[in-house]
């Protein structure tokens, strides 16, 4: 498991029903591409987060498949519709099988 992985999500705490909100996510992760070499010339093995999903009350908002060309500390910005009060669930899947999760509750204003 990559060390110091910390997801950060920026989402509004409240929204009006049916409103489209912007969500920004960032997760600290080295995203080792598998192309770099260490000082003795050996390839550093690939270790990246390969998938990110965002769901709201079980309904999918976005599902991203990532390749090695995504930068260190993968950042995503996208928009989601909030039909009712509930909870956003963010999930990141690591190459090594680890799963990182974060949730954000949204109330209806």
């Amino acid at each position: 498991m990559a060390e110091g992985v910390k997801p950060r999500v920026k989402a509004p705490k409240s929204a009006s029903a049916g409103e489209v909100v912007t969500i920004k996510t960032l997760i600290s992760h080295p995203m080792e591409s598998g192309q770099r070499k260490d000082s003795s010339g050996n390839k550093i093995p690939r270790s990246i987060i390969n998938r990110f999903t965002c769901d709201f009350n079980g309904q999918n908002v976005i599902d991203v498949t990532m390749e090695a060309a995504i930068s260190t500390n993968p950042y995503f910005e996208f928009e989601a519709t909030v039909p009712e009060a509930g909870e956003f669930k963010f999930t990141w899947y690591d190459d090594d099988g680890s799963v990182y999760e974060d949730t954000k509750a949204v109330s209806i204003a």
Binding site: R36, V64, S71, P74, T81
Partner: protein, 138 residues
């Protein structure tokens, strides 16, 4: 030195080849596109790809894609050792069919976005990004 008719023809051919060249993609990129579209025709336009013209650092190049009515958008970097970048699939609660992220580019190259529309058709857009320092290590 005088320019002969033959020289002129050769120059013209060279110029024509140069203008065609940027639209040719690497075999790996073509394969990735074919795998995504299943060999279907891809129309130009209908996808917005926002990328900087010049990226000083190839390690983090901000890009944004958006396509009205898209079910999925595939992003490829034609000049990277592996062309795949990301595939965005939009679910029923997606507020808009757009997303932005930061990508790595090995050098100056074309970034290609292909959108799969809800009706099963495909659209594409590409943009050349000049990279000052490549982002793949070495």
């Amino acid at each position: 030195m005088s320019i002969t008719r033959r020289d002129t023809l050769a120059l013209g051919l060279g110029a024509a080849a140069l203008t065609i060249l940027p639209f040719r993609l690497s075999a790996a990129t073509e394969d990735a596109i074919a795998a995504f579209t299943g060999g279907a025709d891809v129309a130009d336009g209908g996808v917005d790809l926002t990328a900087p013209e010049i990226a000083e650092n190839g390690n983090t190049v901000p890009i944004a894609v958006s396509a009205e009515g898209a079910a999925a958008i595939l992003v490829l970097a034609a000049g990277n050792p592996t062309p795949g970048v990301a595939e965005f699939k939009f679910g029923p609660l997606a507020g808009s069919h757009s997303a932005s992220t930061r990508i790595r580019l090995a050098g100056t190259q074309d970034v290609v976005a292909i959108a799969k529309m809800a009706d099963g058709s495909f659209a594409r857009a590409s943009k050349t990004v000049k990279v000052t320092i490549g982002g793949c290590g070495g």
